[in-house]
Symmetry: C2
Subunit: 198 residues, 2 copies
Amino acid sequence: MHTRRRYHHGDLRAALLTRAEETLRERGPAALSLRELARDLGVSHAAPSRHFKDKQALLDALALTGFHRLAQTMTAALEETGESFAERLRAGAHAYVEFATANAELLDLMYAIKHAPEASEELSAASQRWIAQMENLIGDAQRRGEVRDGSLESVGIGVFSSLHGYASLVAGDHLPPEVRAQGLDDLVAYILRGCAPE
Amino acid sequence: MHTRRRYHHGDLRAALLTRAEETLRERGPAALSLRELARDLGVSHAAPSRHFKDKQALLDALALTGFHRLAQTMTAALEETGESFAERLRAGAHAYVEFATANAELLDLMYAIKHAPEASEELSAASQRWIAQMENLIGDAQRRGEVRDGSLESVGIGVFSSLHGYASLVAGDHLPPEVRAQGLDDLVAYILRGCAPE
DNA sequence: ACCTGAACACCGTTCAAGT
DNA sequence: ACCTGAACACCGTTCAAGT
């Protein structure tokens, strides 16, 4: 029992990320401090630097885990639904908005402007993965004749923008209550109109 | 000449906001420090607290100036264009995206989740002003028969979401280059389809 | 009214040193 | 490899005191 944990409880890197996400969710990004994380995990304040070269590196890693979880959520949601574009879009939209509201601060971090140059490559790849996911969805629907012709980009840009914009506005609590109530259903109907064949 | 400025150069509050926006733009939000602002303006580090009760209050005030400038920009853009919905939408979309790219960090701040409770009322009022602006635009277009019937909210939600989402994605550099090139034109066409009468 | 100066309790980061 | 302890140069905030 005493050889299992050498200095701390096993995997400091993972523990830091987990704890960081908790405080991010509970007390916001401004409250995130490396020293406090170290204190909470019973480790010296210099220990985190073994795993993250600086604070930004930890934030970048946190954002990356967010994208991975988002991709999983989306995939799971799309597997559990029907084949029609309307059903798949609705499922995807619900999953994205649910993730956004359940992880509002993390979503902010994921799409934050300031990322370290080293991490930004990995991060933008991750952010473009769900764009690709949506593009696949659109491509399939085009082949089924449920979405208008045109390049994936030209049809997709509206879908990404609508979904991301709505999720951001809802997560940030920037929509008046009248809009929020029926909002997602209205949005899906609007997206379907924007995608409908001519 | 020596009675004009007592301790500093006249209006510390305005000077703080101006300087803060400069460093926000040039070095990002993490680089914003009250002490450095005070140093730059040749004033003691405790002076800012006379005008902003804490750092968050300064950030909130900065976000508010952003909303005011955005509203001005939008109004100006809409005054210089034609009467058709297509023209007005295009003008508004261009203005919003231009503002977003020219003030990317500020936009992040404006829509940040974490605002002080006292300021959030004023801020959400400001954020809902441009939503109202868009709703007016939509209402006018409905009366002209250029936009489908339905409540302003149900038609508007798609327009806000699309515009805000696209602006955020572009400002944050989260769109692949292929998409960015023709993106705004594609987006406007998509929004028009989503709004078109049945 | 508006600002200063000192004080307090925090930060992030680095680096020799320990195991 | 992984972590500690001390050190350095910063922070935000508060508060008596000055003009």
